[in-house]
């Protein structure tokens, strides 16, 4: 106590922010001096520069291949030559010397043929090569109004309409008894759990393929953690207000849970949109009736999941439309981003956010599954969980690509 008192006296006249800023300034000065002196005592670096390049984006135009390349390694990389299918080709680089984490664009005039595969080799000044495969050459759709319109239409077909149709089960949900409703909530949880796993795996796959400098697969986990904590925080903040409303209106937490489910499904559908858009952009997606029908059936079950918590409330139509849009419309946004500005790191992060959000929704829904005795995994709930997983898996087969 003696010492603490003395300290307080010593700095009594100094504002707290100064005490906070002084160490920061000293740290900055020390780092600056260290850098200025070139790391005294550390000597020269040993070994060759570490060179890593990742191709983030491929754009194919008639007679031209354009690659966006990110320097994924710790050292600057100088791009010296380019080959296509093991032949040196002319190219123009936006910048040849690519700094750490910087990007450059290579424009390669090349008479590529529709539907054929190409291997692009990027040579650095040390003779190292980065290889990039174009599995199927297809002209990249130009991001004009027609294209955005097409993606929006696709989003409405596979997102908004099916989810809204699924919500038409609301009257049915109101009629069934409490036990069957618990089963239905369990069905929703099962469905969401499947979507979370699926989004997680998808995110990891994309992250592994993309550059590692921004964290690679860690981005998926970070996204999940961030989304979970953010939603948990929002939930804690809202719960007091919700309790007040509940007491006043006598309604249960149903509408609130429905919103959470809609958000979780919306984030999942955003990821679905990214996948659709980026596949479309690389020509890997055949836009057929079958695909749209498959997605429609698949996403209809999501509508049922949204209305399940609404059994005991009477939401306005406006509110139901809102829920449908929250869950379905992100497909459109995802498709736009996926097709026009696909970035593996950002996509992996977004998939992670979807996982975290869904996990938080499951945590919110789980108590509603409980039966009169307070048991979570009663037979009807287990049946519902399994049914939810089975249905989303089987309908997913319709669109498996």
């Amino acid at each position: 106590m003696e010492a603490r008192g003395a300290t307080s006296r010593d700095f009594a006249g100094v504002p707290a922010w100064v005490l906070g800023a002084v160490p920061l300034a000293l740290i900055a000065a020390a780092i600056g001096l260290f850098a200025l002196l070139g790391g005294p005592g550390l000597g020269e670096r040993t070994g060759p520069p570490v060179e890593e390049l990742a191709v983030e984006r491929t754009v194919l135009r008639p007679g031209e291949i354009e690659l966006t390349i990110r320097n994924d390694g710790p050292d600057a990389v100088e791009i010296a030559q380019v080959t296509v299918n093991e032949a040196f080709v002319p190219f123009e680089a936006e910048v040849n010397e690519v700094g750490r984490l910087a990007t450059t664009t290579l424009t390669i005039p090349y008479p590529w043929i529709d539907g054929e595969a190409y291997g692009v080799g990027i040579f650095t000044s040390t003779g190292g090569t980065a290889e990039h495969e174009i599995p199927v050459a297809v002209e990249t759709p130009s991001a004009d109004l027609d294209f955005y319109g097409l993606m929006a239409l696709l989003g409405i077909y596979v997102g908004v309409i099916p989810v809204s149709l699924g919500m038409l089960w609301l009257p049915f949900v109101r009629r069934i008894g409490a036990e069957w409703l618990q089963a239905l909530i369990a069905f929703t949880v099962g469905l969401l759990a499947f979507l979370a796993v699926d989004a997680g795996l998808e995110g990891l796959e994309i992250a592994e393929a993309g550059p590692g400098a921004f964290g690679g697969t860690a981005l998926v986990y970070l996204g999940a953690l961030l989304a979970y904590l953010a939603l948990a925080g929002v939930d804690a903040g809202l719960s007091r207000r919700r309790e007040r409303i509940s007491r006043a209106s006598g309604a249960a937490a149903g509408p609130y849970l429905a919103v959470l489910v809609a958000i979780g499904i919306g984030l999942h559908n955003f990821g679905e949109g990214v996948a659709i858009g980026s596949s479309y952009a690389v020509g890997a997606l055949a836009l057929g009736t079958f695909l749209v029908v498959g997605f429609a059936i698949h996403n209809t079950t999501e509508g049922l999941a949204i209305v399940a918590p609404l059994a005991s409330s009477r939401p306005a139509l406006r509110r139901l439309v809102g829920l449908g849009l929250i869950a379905g419309a992100p497909v459109i946004l995802g498709a736009w981003i996926g097709a026009a500005a696909f970035n593996p790191s950002a996509a992996a992060f977004l998939f992670g956010i979807g996982v975290g959000a869904i996990a938080q929704v499951i945590v919110q829904l789980a108590p509603v599954m409980r039966d009169a005795g307070g048991r979570l995994l009663h037979p009807k709930a287990v049946g519902g969980l399994l049914a939810g997983i089975a249905v989303i898996y089987l309908t997913g087969l319709l669109v498996a690509g």
């Binding site: 890593e52 080959t83 040196f88 123009e92 590529w112 090569t129 290889e131 495969e133 994309i206 596949s279």
Partner: protein, 357 residues
């Protein structure tokens, strides 16, 4: 649920230390590396291909690496000079009247710019790849004083007749000074020039593939006692470089620099006899080939007979095989020669003869 197959691979196998040459920076940006090659493989794809054989329009038919070029000065050798550079050595007479030819060879580690902007940590004989083209006449005595200034043990293994400790074979003849020549050591290889023909020499230290791929090889020509007909003579060593050390070549060439003879076509006289000493020293790929456009040639395998074995426009050589190509160009103009393996050609093993009146 949509599985998206985007194959991305961001792998770089990095080489050994490669301090950037100042010249690197001049090499970029570059354009028109490889315009309208129109190879068999891509002929259909190259809608805008130019025609072959037209010259003097100011438009290169094949640009090689375009405006970019390697820094021959920094490399210490220019393939245009290597082509007609025959090293007869210092000559003197032995007591019996025979001719003694002496050379000095130094092995040294050296950064070589093997394509515009790409450096390779090479091992060289006398600072160049291929090493000097030794030339003697059948029956001469050849004496090569070899000093190893490289950081690694090396040898010179000559194809020809010689004693076992002269074989440049590690583990054989160390007691008599031969075998592996360690850093800083010197050894004198000595043997009779026979048989006549075109031969080769290379390092024979283990791991053998690496010691060859790094650049320790060259051609050796033994002329028959009765000289061959007067001709415009050239040496072409077919080789390549594995710049990323993956056990495959990224670059193919004759006399080391890809597309060099596109940049500087080989000037020959119409109707004059041209003689090419062709040696295949390509590592990793077993088979190499030579093809010349709009012409046929007499081919003398290994050059050990005075009668041609074939009259053709394409020959195939395995690693270590060699032969003599004799031809006359009937027309003035620009004529391509290249490996008749398209991949090698498009990765640099490609050039032009500029036939003048």
């Amino acid at each position: 649920m949509l599985s998206k197959k985007l194959t991305r691979r961001g792998l770089i196998a990095s080489g050994a230390a490669a301090p950037a040459l100042a010249a690197l920076h001049e090499a970029v940006p570059h354009q028109g590396v490889h315009r309208a090659f129109g190879s068999e493989q891509h002929a259909a794809a190259n809608a805008q291909s130019g025609h072959f054989g037209h010259s003097g329009t100011g438009m290169a038919i094949h640009d090689g690496f375009g405006e970019a070029s390697v820094d021959h000065g920094a490399n210490g050798f220019n393939p245009t000079d290597v082509l007609r550079d025959f090293d007869y050595g210092r000559t003197s007479k032995l007591p019996g009247g025979r001719t003694l030819r002496e050379w000095t060879v130094v092995a040294q580690d050296k950064e070589i710019e093997v394509a515009p902007g790409i450096t390779y940590p090479a091992w060289t004989y006398n600072g160049r790849i291929p090493g000097p083209t030794f030339r003697a006449t059948e029956g001469d005595r050849m004496r090569i004083r070899f000093t190893n200034l490289s950081q690694h043990a090396h040898t010179i293994h000559f194809h020809g007749f010689h004693l076992d400790f002269m074989d440049g074979m590690p583990g054989i003849g160390e007691g008599r000074g031969g075998g592996a020549i360690e850093t800083g050591e010197t050894f004198v290889y000595e043997f009779d020039a026979e048989p006549f023909g075109v031969h080769l020499y290379h390092c024979h230290t283990m791991p053998l593939a690496e010691h060859l791929a790094k650049g320790l090889y060259g051609a050796m020509i033994i002329d028959p006692k009765e000289a061959r007909a007067e001709a415009d003579e050239m040496v072409m060593v077919m080789n390549g470089f594995d710049t990323n050390f993956d056990g495959e070549n990224e670059i193919y060439a004759v006399n080391s620099i890809p597309f060099h003879y596109v940049e500087e076509p080989i000037r020959v006289k119409r109707g004059e006899l041209a003689r090419i000493y062709l040696v295949n020293l390509l590592e990793f790929d077993q088979i190499n080939s030579f093809h010349v456009h709009a012409n046929f040639f007499d081919y003398y395998p290994t050059g050990t007979r005075l009668e041609p074995a074939d009259f053709t426009d394409t020959v195939i050589q395995g690693q270590g095989q060699r032969g003599i190509v004799e031809l006359r160009f009937p027309f003035a103009g620009r004529f391509m020669f290249h490996a008749h393996k398209t991949e090698f050609a498009e990765l640099g093993w490609l050039g032009f003869f500029e036939v003048e009146e």
